[in-house]
């Protein structure tokens, strides 16, 4: 990754009649970065991707790719290539001709052949040159789509939900493969996804979108640890969200009275959009310790009753009903015997360290 900006979007807006598909999009992407646009369906992430590709023109604002303003530049003249959600493999062409499609007529035939072979090796489809488009499996189609875009040596590779059509095992394998490919090629990847795990495992940075707006742009770890508001906090991973009263506001610390848990001192979240008397705090389920007795070594505790247990294998999710607040979720690693420690109806204690409570700013 270099310090050079490969994509700059300034105050970009896309309107369909009175509906704003995307608004106030300000984005700077570094060369060689793996960036993901993450959000629920209909949040405008695909619109942003398609504006970069040139399939849609912004209603307002500007898009620069490698310093050049893309206004009025049609999709076929942009230094970007796209991997489509449906893969869009040309059904009348075999693998080699699909991959060579964008080079025909621009590059000598011998060079095309060499580059096709090279890029097919790269996506592990070596030797499948003459395979017909309709004889490919889902994973192979995905690789052909990737090869067909990469052979163009784009400045930016755009990926629209590239893994959503694959089964879970293959999807996880491709996540690593694509990440490795991106790092070895050093090309900027911009991926649209609604799958938070996909975005977290592959990206250098993630932009979280809701209702056409970019809510937060950060590294996966920062998004998880310091989400800017309730929406981002509950979209990325699981989060218990509690109301709290702000008693004293310092520059780096806040003194709060959190519902159920009482007074505590927590770190101020610089990403939070603002503070007021009523704020929200978040607690990751894996930070809640579940015990049969009141835990002595935890400064904040609460008592409740187990209302639901879900055994996932690598961890166990407990839903704990607590008087006066919403049901809390605690996640714990199973014991050595992989048996469940608590059952539905058991009275339990939940313990919490102050450092793990996340300030989510004022409650709107």
């Amino acid at each position: 990754m270099t310090e050079k900006n490969i994509i700059e979007m300034k105050a970009v807006e896309k309107r369909y009649g009175s509906f704003r598909a995307a608004s106030d999009i300000d984005l700077e992407l570094k060369e060689g970065e793996f960036f993901s646009l993450l959000g629920p369906s209909g949040c405008g992430k695909t619109t942003v991707l398609r504006m970069i590709a040139g399939f849609q023109e912004p209603s307002r604002g500007s898009i620069l790719i490698d310093g050049q303003d893309m206004a009025g530049v049609p999709a076929n003249n942009r230094p970007t290539n796209m991997v489509f959600q449906s893969y869009a493999i040309f059904p009348h062409l075999n693998v080699a001709n699909n991959v060579a499609y964008g080079l025909r007529g621009k590059v000598p035939k011998a060079e095309i052949d060499a580059r096709v072979t090279e890029v097919l090796e790269m996506v592990e489809l070596g030797g499948l040159h003459r395979r017909g488009a309709n004889e490919l499996s889902g994973g192979q189609r995905q690789r052909v789509a990737l090869a067909r875009a990469l052979i163009m040596r784009p400045k930016v590779l755009l990926l629209d939900e590239p893994l959503s059509a694959l089964d879970k095992k293959l999807r996880e394998q491709m996540q690593f493969e694509m990440r490795n490919l991106q790092q070895s090629l050093g090309i900027t990847f911009v991926m649209v996804t609604h799958d938070q795990y996909e975005a977290m495992t592959m990206s250098d940075r993630i932009g979280v979108m809701f209702d056409g707006r970019l809510m937060q742009i950060d590294t996966p770890a920062t998004l998880y640890a310091r989400p800017c508001n309730r929406a981002v906090a509950s979209f990325i991973g699981e989060m218990n969200i509690l109301p709290a009263l702000l008693m004293e506001e310092g520059n780096s610390l806040l003194l709060i009275d959190a519902a159920g848990f009482g007074r505590m001192q927590i770190e101020r979240n610089p990403n939070a959009s603002g503070h007021a008397r009523d704020i929200l705090v978040g607690i990751r389920p894996e930070q809640l310790e579940i015990k049969a007795e009141k835990p002595a070594d935890y400064p904040a505790t609460v008592q409740g009753t187990v209302s639901n247990v879900a055994f996932y294998g690598e961890n166990i999710h407990y839903h704990v009903a607590v008087d006066g607040i919403d049901t809390l979720m605690a996640v714990s690693v199973p014991n050595y015997f992989h048996t469940v420690d608590f059952n539905r109806g058991d009275a339990v204690w939940l313990g919490l360290q102050e450092a793990s409570v996340i300030d989510l700013g004022k409650d709107k």
Partner: protein
């Protein structure tokens, strides 16, 4: 396995009425036709001893050659004209039009009147004192009526192209409709201009539709009898008119049957060559 068998049996049962119907109305007359072609007739006596006389006679007759070639040429011209005009319409409906159903309905409007009436309508338009000539005279663009509009090959091609247009539009429309829009975006994304994209993606993916449209028009128009009889004049006569004469005025059914079979074979041959060539062209585009 047992279930599969009963499924197949169900299929045969369901198609049995149609099979019987087609068998009776197509296969039976065809067999009679073949039988007739090997018989011979002198005035009113039908000689049922088998002979190749009709085939020898037909193949040696320059008039038969001439009419057969003209029929194929006219049908080819009709096919080419119709498909060339139908493709843009089908493209518009499939790719651009908002209210596709209304457009498709509008296209079927010519069928709301009978074929014969439409041919007569063209006669009224193209005739010596017809709409076209009156209009041109009225506007002062010509001094005397144009005579080349009616009773020639041009009139036959024009009339048939109009009559068969929906049959070309529909199969092409269906094949265009089936194209995944993301394929077109992918072509653009890979650097194609709209024209390149059309030639490299849209056209190859609609080859099947074009071939279907060509066959649907070419095969029936080679044997068309009504249109050349009404608007063709002597220059526009086709093989079907000669066949009709054998079954009518000339009263030589065996020769008529032979000519019919020869016409069918010629059409079949041209159609097969066309399908193979069309597929080959479709496959060569990359």
């Amino acid at each position: 396995m047992f279930k599969l068998r009963s499924e197949a049996a169900k299929g045969y049962t369901l198609s049995a009425p149609a099979t019987a119907y087609v068998g009776f109305l197509v296969a039976a007359p065809l067999i009679i036709l073949i039988a007739y072609s090997f018989w011979s007739q002198t005035y009113v006596t039908l000689d049922k001893s088998l002979t190749l006389k009709n085939y020898r006679e037909a193949l040696a007759d320059p008039l038969v050659h001439h009419l057969m070639l003209r029929s194929i040429w006219i049908a080819g011209a009709v096919t080419l004209t119709t498909v060339a005009l139908a493709y843009p319409i089908a493209y518009f409906i499939a790719m651009k039009a908002r209210k596709k159903t209304i457009w498709l309905l509008l296209i079927t409007i010519p069928f709301w009147s009978s074929y014969l009436l439409r041919v007569f309508a063209w006669k009224l338009i193209l005739g010596f004192n017809g709409v076209m000539n009156s209009a041109l005279l009225g506007m002062g663009l010509i001094d005397e009526p144009l005579s080349f509009l009616l009773y020639n090959e041009f009139a036959v091609v024009l009339t048939l192209a109009h009559a068969w247009a929906p049959f070309a539009i529909l199969p092409i429309y269906v094949s265009l409709q089936k194209i995944d829009p993301s394929l077109l975006e992918a072509a653009t994304d890979l650097g194609n201009t709209p024209v390149q994209r059309f030639l490299r993606v849209t056209l190859p993916l609609t080859v099947q539709g074009i071939i279907a449209a060509c066959l649907i028009i070419f095969i029936p128009t080679v044997g068309d009898y009504v249109t050349p009889a009404l608007v063709g004049g002597s220059d526009g006569k086709m093989i079907a008119n000669l066949i009709q004469v054998q079954f009518g005025a000339a009263n030589n059914w065996p020769l008529g049957a032979t000519l019919s079979l020869l016409a069918m074979m010629s059409v079949g041959f041209v159609a097969i060559v066309f399908v193979i060539a069309g597929r080959g062209v479709g496959r060569r585009i990359r």
